[in-house]
Symmetry: C2
Subunit: 338 residues, 2 copies
């Protein structure tokens, strides 16, 4: 029999909390017998929310956490002061091995800061990267790092490449994932100082499948599985992806509604377009893991609905079962001893 995996979920984080978070948690324990979910948040509110559902009470529990960290608060300060917040209480459970993983749709800054301050880094990890999956024409790619720690060094980027490679191979099941570094041209001599310094280091890594530079134009085509960059650039890519995607879909909708003729056509094309846009959506894979910590911390979208919360919890199970942290620890320490 498989071991039970415990995932603690921030029930108060995100635009749709606690309703959609609760729903996602219920969905998970109804569907999977090998998962225990703990919700952190205001006990009364959560009890009321849960009362609508029928579920195994042994495997879906509440831990009272009356405080909430908002998006407007300075992350480090909030983590230090709000000891009874849904985020801090949950992170302490991961730290104390009462939970294997933590999922939050709340403040990205607080989740990142808390992950590092409370759960802590795996020995050898210089900087834990936030690594969301982004949709491409033929699947998804891992964009690593999109976190809050900017001005990275080349040694950080090399670790990102290794951790990202392990994640894509073991959690997504992509054999020998192609690793590329974001650059402004395909040639090795192109790039800023950081990229020029990192490129030869990546080329020398024997444990990753480094394919060279990737121009931003090629990212949506799925030209690499692991896309390495420092957090400022990663953040720009991630947010432009979201913004431009939303803008273009809005444009298409406006176009469809612009004439009588197109309105008629819209009725016919809508189901097909809906299916198409679904293939260009990464939420079915869950949230973005903060890699390299002594436990798993997953940041899911602020606007996540029950299904994305559910998928983020499932992602934690694969991560834990595949011993990703053990693999990261072994890989980084092996390289240090080389």
């Amino acid at each position: 029999m498989q071991d039970m995996i415990t995932v603690v979920v921030d029930a108060m984080g995100g635009d749709n909390a606690p309703g959609e978070i609760i729903k996602g948690a219920v969905l998970t324990v109804q569907e999977r017998k090998d998962i225990k979910v703990v919700l952190t948040g205001d006990e009364d509110t959560l009890r009321k929310g849960l009362s609508e559902y029928d579920y195994d009470k042994e495997r879906l529990q509440i831990v009272h956490a009356p405080e909430i960290i908002t998006n407007c608060e300075a992350p480090v300060m909030a983590i230090r002061r709000k000891k009874n917040s849904s985020i801090v209480v949950a992170l302490n459970m991961v730290k104390n091995k009462e939970a294997d993983a933590f999922v939050s749709a709340g403040s990205t800054g607080a989740v990142l800061a808390g992950g590092q301050l409370i759960v802590g880094r795996i020995g050898g990890v210089e900087r834990p990267p936030l690594a969301p999956l982004i949709p491409t024409m033929n699947g998804v790619s891992l964009l690593i790092d999109c976190g809050a720690n900017v001005d990275a060094r080349s040694s950080h980027l090399v670790q990102f490449a290794k951790m990202g490679s392990i994640y894509m191979e073991n959690v997504l099941g992509i054999k020998n994932p192609r690793v590329a570094i974001v650059n402004i041209g395909a040639e090795e001599e192109k790039g800023n100082l950081l990229v020029k310094e990192t490129f030869p280091l990546l080329k020398n890594c024997t444990d990753i499948n480094f394919i060279g530079s990737i121009e931003a134009r090629e990212i949506p085509n799925g030209a690499a599985d692991v896309i390495v960059c420092e957090a400022f650039v990663g953040n720009v890519i991630l947010k432009l992806y979201e913004g431009l995607g939303t803008a273009l879909i809005k444009k298409v909708k406006t176009g469809l509604m612009s004439t009588t003729r197109s309105k008629l056509g819209a009725l016919l094309v809508k189901p097909a377009l809906k299916e198409t846009f679904k293939t260009f959506d990464a939420t079915k894979y869950g949230g973005a893991p903060l890699l390299g910590l002594n436990g798993l911390v997953v940041k899911t979208h602020g606007n996540a609905k029950s299904n994305e919360v559910h998928n983020s919890i499932l992602q934690c199970v694969t991560f834990t079962e595949q011993n990703i942290n053990e693999k990261i620890r072994n890989n980084l320490n092996k390289n240090e001893n080389e």
Copy 2:
């Protein structure tokens, strides 16, 4: 009567050279009596190409330039060695005041390097930025810098903001253009070292309308008119814009063709969608100017067709008539003396 403006065009640069370049030049002199166009390239080839058209031969001339600089060549080396290339011959005409402006769809690297090496910078300009217009939900924004000089300093970014502001106000006619710096959050304390250093400097500029940070998500919404960033980030934004736009439109087309029902609907929605996508296309504004040079150099898309070449030439006229370089010179020197 208006003075005649002379624009020299690289007839051998780009995917559609010389055919579409010639066509764009002919279109221009047919439409406007105040513009003279000079084409640089192989004389025989151009003469043959031009023989198909009827145009005022006084205002559309050829200057023989038998060499071609390709995209594969190292830019600085190519500019130094290929003195008889269509790019170098044209840039020398701008340098010698035989032409007011230069348009090329050829090697971006060579155009940028040649612009700096041959035409030279306006006194006071530290670094000439390449500033393309990108489409937004309600018009266009100027993305400055997308050039080849990475690892910029804060003083460069301040100059980009000023030059971009002058360009948008005088060439695009946007009064008091909103200037923002690309950042990973809206707050002043966010960002990497460069952004943190630049932010207060921009805030202190009295001659621009600085509105603060812009997250990449907001760029497609047209949240600022002048978007300031260093070239590596600008390049990523520009290329992701192109790549993601193409990918999503391809997705929509696949969706429309996926079922019998949607195929029928596609016939009805196509004209409207085509109109919609046209509004999300910046080529009607011309190419990207390399600002801050002693003359105007415009880089248009490698795949530019006659219409974009035509628009790029027209853009040079507005630029020259509005004395943009004079305004840049005055602004930067005024600030130096403050």
